[in-house]
């Protein structure tokens, strides 16, 4: 039994090139994350903070061209440890001191072929993904059953039609769809959003994947269904031992499900650590951005004096002209005279403040 993490992301960068602005859009700019077996890692952040893009990069699903991915994504298989992005760095030139991409010399097709080769046998089989808007993410032309059976026969040992169908019904029962025998023959348009999401979870898990990436699984569902889907994911994790990476901008869902949390802002991890440390400030230390996010959860004690809900002032970071200093500096509430110079001129390192708890802020950099 080895203790190396199931997924280890090192210096992941995903840039898009904007032709009109003649510049790189740095959607993900140097992300380091670790996911251990059996964990639920919650990635939280505003829209545009790069949380979805970083996970799509791992799956090789960045379709928009020219999108550039560099870095290492180590995935622990049963025997070997493989880099999902192996070979891609040959196509880009990276600056020596801070690792930013300087120029790209990628022939699109060779790059794409390399990525596809790396992903062979990983996508679907090892890493499964569920998306937001379940109704549009299921193929409208096939029955639910057909889609699950196709996945089962492709990725598991249940090859015959009959076995696969039995297995599919088992998974439909597992995700608590009522009368799976009937739903097996339903098309996605015949199901409600919540049921569709359940069916999609069943499809993703039916290949017995080790890692499930859930990209905002509760967005687009109503509040009661959201809670049920969250419970379902937690239950499935406990039963099957699947590792989950949960992407959401909903602090409530993240706090409920995950035991590790990473807070992202402007394509960078601002804070990461155990859920108690990040959300409940168990060690009394928190990043100003996380604090601001927590203050904007709709709750009674988060109302401002005028009776409005707190919000974070300012705008989301412009990822084309990234500031030299801390990315959050322009919106930071905790900035003060003594460290202002540092905040504006130099990016703080991700400093460890307590066991497993890391914060990227000059307040804690000296610890």
């Amino acid at each position: 039994m080895n203790n190396s993490p199931l997924l280890k992301i090192e210096e992941l960068r995903t840039y898009f090139y904007s032709r009109t602005k003649q510049a790189f859009i740095r959607s993900v700019d140097g992300v380091d994350l670790e996911v251990n077996k059996g964990d639920t890692l919650g990635i939280v952040g505003e829209s545009g903070s790069g949380k979805s893009v970083s996970m799509l990069s791992i799956m090789g699903l960045i379709a928009a061209r020219p999108g550039i991915i560099t870095g290492q994504v180590w995935y622990q298989q049963e025997q070997a440890r493989i880099n999902l992005l192996a070979g891609l760095q040959d196509h880009v030139q990276v600056s020596k001191n801070d690792g930013r991409i300087m120029s790209v010399e990628k022939t699109d097709l060779a790059w794409q072929r390399r990525l596809e080769k790396n992903m062979l046998g990983i996508r679907g089989k090892e890493i499964a993904m569920i998306f937001q808007n379940p109704k549009s993410a299921m193929n409208p032309f096939f029955t639910i059953g057909h889609q699950i059976v196709e996945n089962i026969t492709r990725h598991t040992q249940y090859k015959s039609r009959k076995e696969a169908k039995e297995r599919a019904l088992y998974w439909l029962e597992r995700v608590k769809i009522d009368s799976p025998q009937l739903r097996f023959y339903n098309y996605p348009y015949g199901l409600s959003g919540g049921m569709c999401q359940r069916a999609m979870i069943a499809t993703a898990l039916s290949s017995e994947a080790k890692l499930l990436i859930a990209d905002e699984p509760t967005t687009g569902l109503d509040a009661t269904i959201q809670a049920r889907i969250a419970d379902l994911l937690e239950e499935l994790r406990a039963q099957t031992g699947v590792t989950i990476v949960l992407i959401s901008h909903d602090m409530g869902v993240i706090g409920r499900l995950s035991n590790k949390i990473a807070v992202m802002y402007g394509g960078r991890v601002m804070e990461s650590g155990p859920a108690q440390a990040v959300i409940d400030h168990a060690d009394g230390k928190s990043h100003p951005y996380t604090e601001a996010l927590l203050k904007s959860i709709p709750r009674e004690d988060n109302m401002s004096s005028q009776g409005h809900l707190n919000s974070i002032d300012g705008e989301v970071l412009d990822t084309i002209n990234v500031p030299r200093g801390c990315r959050f500096a322009s919106r930071c509430q905790r900035i003060n005279k003594s460290i202002e110079k540092m905040c504006l001129n130099e990016e703080p390192p991700l400093a460890t403040v307590s066991d497993g708890h890391k914060i990227r802020c000059w307040h804690f950099a000296g610890v």
Binding site: R123, A128, F131, A137, N139, F141, A204
Partner: protein
């Protein structure tokens, strides 16, 4: 109020209706007519290849030149050399059938490959395909055909080949439109995430459901178009050459005698062209409305 509710057809009811119930009666009539014509064509083809002809097509009866329909022993009359028109009409089907199918196959295969490359993979493929289709499109079709006929020989297979290649851009554009529209959809992304190979996504998840009706329609329309164009070329003398009969050259030969008041030997093959082409076109149109669902205004 209740009456109003009863006359309304809701979306779910609509999808419960069988395909015959929800199509327009006129479209059904089109399709029925088209199928009758199609059956006649198939029958004629079988008759031609097995030689079950009502009369010897080569036998000349000089005393019965340019006879009208209903002449003794000649149901549809005779041509200027006293040959029976009916078996000659039937023989033509044999000459049209396989080349017509070849034309459809070439157009759909070539157009399909172009469409998939540019629609699904896009990028460089799209640029190259656009260049190729623009080059093909910029040639006038009839002149290209005449060039090929002049360079090689006036053979129907060459003509159909040219027709297939020149029709490929149209097919490719439509398939490309469908694919690149569906490529953006979430369900294709999630299919990729499930590890399904590209070929399977393209053919099973995208093309099979979205383009099959289109391909059927294209095939029927293409058959009609093939007959029409071949007739035009034969009429001009560039298509099938005497003594092999073709509807085009039959019309042309008969036309020489029109001013002498001998209408029939020209109009009978012309009517055969009209009814057959109309049959294929209406079949295509009716099937289009039937399978794709008529656009409601």
């Amino acid at each position: 109020m209740t009456q109003y509710a009863q006359t309304q057809t809701t979306v779910s009811e609509y999808s419960e209706l069988s395909i015959l119930q929800r199509t327009d009666k006129r479209d059904i009539a089109y399709v029925v007519y088209g199928i009758v014509i199609l059956l006649m064509v198939v029958c004629a083809y079988l008759m031609a290849i097995f030689g079950w002809l009502p009369h010897d097509p080569e036998e000349m009866q000089l005393e019965l030149m340019l006879a009208g329909p209903g002449a003794p022993g000649h149901l549809l009359g005779t041509d200027f050399m006293g040959r029976d028109t009916l078996p000659r009409l039937i023989l033509v089907i044999k000459a049209y059938f396989v080349p017509g199918l070849m034309y459809i196959a070439v157009a759909i295969l070539l157009g399909g490959i172009f469409g998939i490359l540019s629609g699904y993979y896009g990028n460089k493929y799209e640029t190259v395909v656009t260049y190729i289709t623009n080059i093909i499109d910029s040639f006038p079709r009839l002149i290209l055909m005449l060039l090929v006929v002049a360079a090689f020989k006036p053979d129907i297979y060459y003509i159909m080949m040219v027709l297939g290649v020149t029709n490929a851009p149209l097919v490719s554009q439509l398939i490309k439109g469908k694919i690149s529209m569906l490529r953006q959809k979430n369900f294709v992304e999630s299919a990729i995430a499930l590890g399904i190979p590209d070929a399977r996504i393209i053919f099973k998840h995208i093309l099979w459901f979205n383009c099959r009706s289109y391909l059927i329609i294209q095939a029927t329309l293409g058959m009609g178009e093939a007959i029409l164009l071949e007739s035009a070329l034969s009429y001009l003398g560039f298509g099938v050459q005497e003594p092999t009969p073709s509807w085009g050259n039959m019309v042309q030969q008969g036309a020489n005698y029109l001013l002498q008041g001998q209408l029939w030997s020209s109009t009978i093959p012309a009517m055969a062209i009209m009814f057959t082409v109309l049959g294929f076109y209406l079949l295509g149109d009716g099937l289009n409305n039937m399978l794709e669902g008529k656009r409601q205004s």
